[in-house]
Symmetry: C2
Subunit: 119 residues, 2 copies
DNA sequence: CAGAATCCCCTCAGATACTG
DNA sequence: CAGTATCTGAGGGGATTCTG
């Protein structure tokens, strides 16, 4: 039963700020793909530093694949959700279903953390 | 679609250290109930301060109910998962299913964060 | 365009000591 | 037993500046 460990880890990095908002942005992209700046523009308030860090974590976890188009100037890098990443989107939907069932009456959003989504 | 906000919040506090391990401990208890010290003993490494803080958050979120037995000396306080909390256990199971599917080959546990569970 | 490097603040969590 | 109070160190994340 040691896989709880992975669950632990998962929840730990998912809990980081912006993380799952980024995942959802990629999810909304054509072919589950978005460019760096594209994500940045769609998540008002996020800094390049944080976005960069989160994408790197997602890449290391195998949830996202990075593709750099060589030879283009300026550089174009694209990030795509992997099958594993898509699987996680389903988990997020589960969370949302739970939240809808139990949390509707909840407090209003703090503007900074709140964005629409396609779930 | 503003409920993403709640999802955001959910993942944020679930991501806190020990949080979901505590939930699982309550889940394992008789009638989904455990006493403070009981949980503490079963989660080696957790401090009273953190356990206390997490339980308070869970209570505020409506995932846990606290019952203090009046008149007993010393005091006995019990924590029980609510229906909402039980619903969240199902979500954790979803996360585990996802993890099993995509993360088995994963790195070994850092002993400190790893505990068995009943999932 | 897509970051990396710095600085700085703030929260989280561990350790320790104390209490009704 | 079931906490609270205080101190501390590590890490997260924002703002700003710089670069291939």
């Amino acid at each position: 039963m040691q896989s709880v460990c992975t669950v632990n880890r998962t929840v730990k990095y998912l809990g980081k700020k912006w993380m799952f908002l980024i995942i959802l942005e990629l999810y909304k992209g054509d072919g589950y793909t978005r460019r760096f700046t594209e994500v940045k523009e769609r998540l008002p308030g996020i800094t390049a530093k944080v976005l960069s860090a989160r994408l790197k974590e997602l890449e290391e976890e195998g949830l996202v694949e990075k593709h750099v188009e060589a030879g283009t100037v300026p550089v174009r890098s694209e990030y795509t959700l992997t099958a594993s990443g898509l699987g996680l989107v389903e988990v997020i939907k589960d969370i949302k279903r739970w939240a809808l069932r139990w949390k509707i009456e909840n407090r209003a959003c703090g503007a900074q953390d709140c964005h629409d989504c396609v779930l």
